[in-house]
């Protein structure tokens, strides 16, 4: 066994790699059903609601110029809304738009950036910014940075994909 153990990870008895793998795999199963499943259902229902209500068409028209900067159709704005609530919901919304033929694979690649970079901002504000007791005066900046990062990330990926000849 490795000699570099963190106190929390130090096993009481010798574990073999199969047990370790099973322990991690069980975590993965939990993540799949407890984290991804609710977010995925939310993402799909949100997209369904936007589609059925006709709001999606409005979003598509209104946000087309902004999203166009990133090489995306206006509908992709729904992905950003979903991502803001949960990273997985953003990914679900993007996957849904891809399956429906609204966005292409390169556009889905671009959308992964905001799904991660500006994902779950409300929930993680408590879990990261508040827990670390960072300077509360900087709160607006802490919120602005992920949005800036997302914009930069989308542009970078767009440039890479264009260079690869995919866009």
């Amino acid at each position: 066994m490795s000699t570099a153990k963190t106190p929390a990870a130090a096993p009481a008895k010798k574990e073999n790699f199969i047990d370790v793998f099973f322990a991690g795999a069980r975590k993965g199963l939990g993540i799949g059903f407890n984290t991804i499943m609710p977010a995925m259902v939310m993402g799909y229902v949100l997209v369904q609601a936007l589609k059925v209500s006709g709001i999606m068409d409005v979003l598509a028209t209104v946000f087309a110029p902004v999203m166009g900067l990133f090489g995306l159709p206006g509908e992709a704005f729904a992905v950003l809304i979903s991502a803001f609530f949960a990273k997985a919901a953003g990914a679900a919304a993007a996957a849904n738009l891809y399956t429906a033929g609204v966005i292409t694979a390169p556009q889905a690649t671009i959308l992964l950036m905001p799904c991660m970079l500006m994902g779950t901002l409300i929930g993680h504000y408590a879990r990261i910014v508040l827990v670390s007791e960072a300077n509360p005066k900087l709160t607006p900046i802490f919120f602005a940075i992920p949005l800036i990062d997302s914009a930069v990330g989308m542009i970078i990926v767009r440039i890479i994909l264009t260079a690869m000849g995919l866009m």
Binding site: M1, S2, T3, A4, T6, E15, V20, A23, G24, A25, K27, G28, L29, I31, G32, T35, I36, M37, A39, M40, V41, M42, Y44, V45, A88, A91, A92, A94, A95, N96, Y98, A105, A108, T109, L111, L112, C115, M116, L117, G119, H124, R127, I128, V129, V131, S132, E133, A134, N135, I141, F142, I145, P146, D149, S150, V152, I156, V157, I160, L166
Partner: protein, 221 residues
């Protein structure tokens, strides 16, 4: 060993740790995919090849079917993602136990000062922040309480952690839906996200540097 000691101490890295780090980089980089002929066995080092694919019916559709909508389609889609998630988490646990994180800590600690302007003592928190947001946030608070980083350094570090939190863990755990679709492999995507995180944190770093004089003057009043 207390957490404080763990943060100051340079971790012991065994050859297994370096091997684990190397394997992790290979698996998630996407470099070992699509080999043919004599090099075909190398595909074993590719994450997506190991996750494999579902069987399809005559129309080339898997059990999820076509044209589903709403919650039901979301449910079926999630089922298709769970195997990759189970495998990735189990595999990551083995690599972690082999000492992958300690190796990463030794490898990354020296670059923290130039890229984020924070001391090497943040290495443990930095590495933890790749995989989980909660442990890193607690460690960051502790670093400040122990006087190892200033308030400004903490702000920059928190800005780094907050955007795209836990890039490796969340890429596997939350972006599973997009991974089979996207044009780039998981490794390069994670790298790009980290680059953007560092970029954003440096915006705050510059802002804090520029306003430092006026802020100290204000506090002095």
């Amino acid at each position: 060993m207390s957490t404080e000691q763990a943060m100051k101490q340079k971790p012991v890295v065994t050859w297994k740790g370096w091997l684990a780090l190397l394997i992790m980089c290979c698996m998630f980089s996407g470099l070992f995919t699509g080999f043919e002929g004599a090099l075909k066995p190398l595909n074993v080092l590719d994450f997506n090849t190991m996750v494999g694919s579902f069987g399809v019916d005559a129309d080339g559709v898997n059990f999820q079917g076509k044209n589903g909508t709403g919650a039901r389609d979301g449910f079926m889609f999630t089922i298709t993602l769970v195997p990759g998630c189970i495998f990735a988490m189990g595999f990551l646990e083995v690599l972690t136990r082999m000492g992958c994180m300690e190796a990463a800590q030794v490898a990354f600690t020296p670059i923290l000062k130039p890229i984020l302007g924070i001391p090497g003592a943040c290495g443990l928190a930095f590495i933890n922040a790749l995989n989980s947001s909660d442990i890193a946030a607690v460690l960051t608070k502790q670093l400040y309480d122990d006087g190892m980083i200033t308030d400004d350094e903490r702000s920059v570090f928190v800005a780094y952690q907050y955007a795209g939190s836990a890039p490796i863990g969340n890429m596997i755990g939350t972006q599973a839906a997009l991974l089979p679709i996207i044009n780039l492999a998981m490794g390069p995507m994670i790298l790009l996200i980290i680059v953007c995180k560092i970029f954003g944190a440096n915006l705050l770093r510059i802002y804090l540097k520029m306003t430092k004089k006026s802020r100290t003057a204000k506090e002095a009043k």
